[in-house]
Amino acid sequence: MTVAGFQIPDRRVAWRWARENLFDGSWNTALTVGMVVLIGVALYGVGNFVFASAEWEAITANRKLFFIGAYPRDEAWRIWAVIYVLAGLGGLSWALWSRISPLLAIGGAIAMIPVFVFMAHGEVALLTLGSLAAFGGGYAFGKTPALSGRYRNTARTVAVFLWIASLPFSWVLLDGVPTRLWGGLLLTMVLTVFGITIAFPFGVLLALGRASTFPVIRLFCVGFIEIVRGVPLITILFMAFFLLPLAIGPERTILFGIPVTGVDTATVQRALAGIVIFAAAYLAEIVRGGLQAVPRGQTEAAKALGLNTFHILGFIVLPQALRAVIPALVGQFISLFKDTSLVLVLALTDLLGAARQVSAQPDFIGRQAETLLFIALIYWIVAFNMSRASQQIEKNLGVGER
């Protein structure tokens, strides 16, 4: 138990712990000493940089750029509205499903980043605390006797629909500002969240198609999945960027010989399209893993009860399959979150793009180390906490325990 290592009650026990774990034999002692030196040097280097040589003004002067890019300050209420709605929904869901609480708690903690990093900014701190209140409000509402008792299942269904509805709602609300102005962490989050949620149904369909007994459909799905997974995301982004407007561009989209008005896509939408294509293929593989984990007996039992294929899928197989792959889905979310940084190649100003813009400003030229470290920290906090949350869920659901 490494945890026990931290709960050292007195000196004697501490010494015994150290002897067992650090100085157990001459080889181990040498290793420990070596590691101490190595860690010391590393800590000194980092500490020296962080507290002595770094100039953090590049960060503090550009807070807005890092978080929302060129999104106008006057329109920032749109973002807050979205955060409040999501926080309220999160609180409600926490009350309704105790099992997913780690994910929500982590999501909330991530939303708090602006406060922790930018305490100085009074207004932002206040608004962030407000979102906590929204969270609490949602929780209190979910805990009301009616909802936690008789109408619990109804409430859950409604909550699921609210979550689904919250996505287009958020987009419409945010879209009051043209997408070209979206940037920073906002853009990174939008690309990740919308990318994975839009891709999800396609991923499920592809997975079902791949498991299907229809050779044509299976071939199509296998082809799509394997081709997308065989090439770098960056080529898919390039493709979405260059070819999408050619294929469905505003002028020449023809359906059955009839010209129709095509879709005029801005860079953000194209990047999103690329991300969706990419994520769908990876999600399909994850869902396929889940499908394979559902024992054959389940389908057979359902067939024996006379259920048709759609019912079997919808009520028996998919719920079990998806439950089994929740941790993998979170993992995919994390990796997509990191991968959205590639939209840099399309000159979008996501979190990484913001960092590069800052280090190009005349006042802060050459301050790359600071800006990179800062956004690395943000990426790290989100990714690390999400992965911890997924481990927690794994435990709660008893997934992976045999």
Partner: protein
């Protein structure tokens, strides 16, 4: 269906029964699906083609459609034009200059991708295994340092790490005006150079001698293995093979009159000359790819070691096998079986991730491709070519790894 006596009612019933037939449904369903897919694909492509045609470009200029067999001729078209841009860093001695064609430029980039991916795979495996084993260390400090490594490197975007390695580490190496000259090596931010050898006369003969040495080594291995089986005495066939090869190689080296010349790097005219050089761009890319992928491989290694039941080690220990023998004969063969599939995935990821070289001034196949797109405007064919290139690479790696995996049969352990 025997009821089909010609009456229209039974005819109708026959058709209805046919329609309810599972096979018919399957056939119709799939045909409809295929038709939709083909039509949508056709739609998108004809749109693209039409739009490109408006501005005087063609969708896929590699191929000419001609009336006669084989209907398609690969003409190359723009790929044969003079590229005009230089790529300084080439791999495997491939010779490229600005007067060569776009095709040569693309191939240069392709070789660069192979070089960085290949080296990345080797180093990431070594470091990943090392970190993964360290995660299992009984030394608290070591196991937690390894944990910190894994959590740091895999939770930060690779692109960011690459920029960091380049800007904050490799560019901060000593400048050419004030180089770090270690007598054997030169370290500057223009290049890190090590002494290297270049062949001289007699090299060919020595190569033949080396070949003979390899054969002798193989023979020694067989002989010593047989002896071990026959007598039971430890006969170290591996060491004997290495010894035989080394001895013959060395004798041959001396006998052919030292056919290698040391090529020591030096600095002239503000450039590092000679030796084995690594540019900071390549260095940053390799470091970033290696350390990032190693974090994932380490997790695979840890997982697969943990997947071996503790009882296996105990049983081996109870039989009196030493810790090396336990590792070699009991744990490792079982670990490898579990480890290879996820590691193959990491190799594929590394290869695909090498395309992120675009942020550094290193010309891999993707970087070269995007330059060609800019210089020629041919986005569609180049993107298609890039996808085919990466697909082929992925396929090749899976093929190699699956072959290795299938060779690792239990009894050979």
């Amino acid at each position: 269906m025997a009821a089909a006596q010609g009456s229209s009612a039974s005819e109708l019933r026959r058709i209805l029964t046919l329609w309810r037939n599972v096979r018919v449904q399957r056939f119709v369903g799939q045909t409809v699906f295929a038709a939709i897919v083909i039509y949508v694909g056709y739609l998108l492509i004809s749109n693209m083609s039409g739009r490109l045609d408006q501005i005087g470009l063609s969708l896929f200029p590699f191929v000419d459609t001609t009336g006669s067999f084989p209907f398609i001729s690969v003409s190359g078209d723009f790929l044969n034009q003079r590229a005009g841009f230089d790529i300084v860093e080439t791999s495997f001695g491939y010779d490229y200059g600005p007067n060569d064609s776009y095709r040569d430029a693309y191939f240069t980039g392709f070789l660069n991708t192979i070089r960085v991916s290949g080296m990345g795979i080797v180093f990431a495996t070594i470091i990943g295994v090392f970190i993964g084993v360290s995660r299992q260390s009984k030394n608290w400090l070591v196991s937690h340092a390894a944990l910190a490594y894994v959590e740091t490197f895999r939770n930060v975007p690779l692109l960011l790490q690459l920029i960091f390695w380049y800007v904050a580490i490799y560019l901060k190496l000593p400048r050419i005006s004030n180089p770090l000259d270690l007598d054997i090596a030169i370290v500057t931010n223009k290049a890190i150079a090590l002494p290297f050898v270049s062949p001289e006369s007699g090299f060919g003969i020595w190569m033949i001698v080396l070949l003979a040495g390899a054969a002798a080594g193989a023979a020694a291995y067989v002989v010593r293995s047989r002896r071990q089986d026959a007598t039971g005495l430890p006969s170290h066939p591996g060491w004997w093979a290495l010894g035989a090869f080394g001895a013959i190689g060395l004798i041959g080296f001396l006998a052919t009159g030292l056919p290698l010349e040391t090529d020591t790097p030096s600095i002239a005219n503000r450039q590092v000359i000679g030796g084995l050089q690594m540019t900071p761009e390549f260095g940053a890319l390799l470091t970033g790819l290696t350390l990032y992928t190693a974090a994932f491989i380490a997790e695979n290694v840890r997982g697969s070691i943990q997947a071996i039941p503790k009882g296996q080690t105990e049983a081996a220990a109870a039989l009196g096998l030493g810790s090396f023998q336990r590792m070699r004969y009991v744990i490792l063969p079982q670990t490898l079986r579990i480890l290879i599939p996820p590691t193959t995935n990491q190799y594929l990821n590394l290869t695909k991730n090498s395309s992120l070289a675009f942020v550094l001034a290193f010309k891999d196949v993707f970087g070269t491709g995007s330059v060609i797109i800019t210089q020629t405007g041919q986005a569609v064919p180049i993107i298609a070519l890039l996808m085919i290139t990466y697909l082929s690479l992925s396929l090749f790696i899976s093929l190699v790894m699956n072959t290795i995996n299938s060779r690792l049969k239990w009894e050979n352990a």
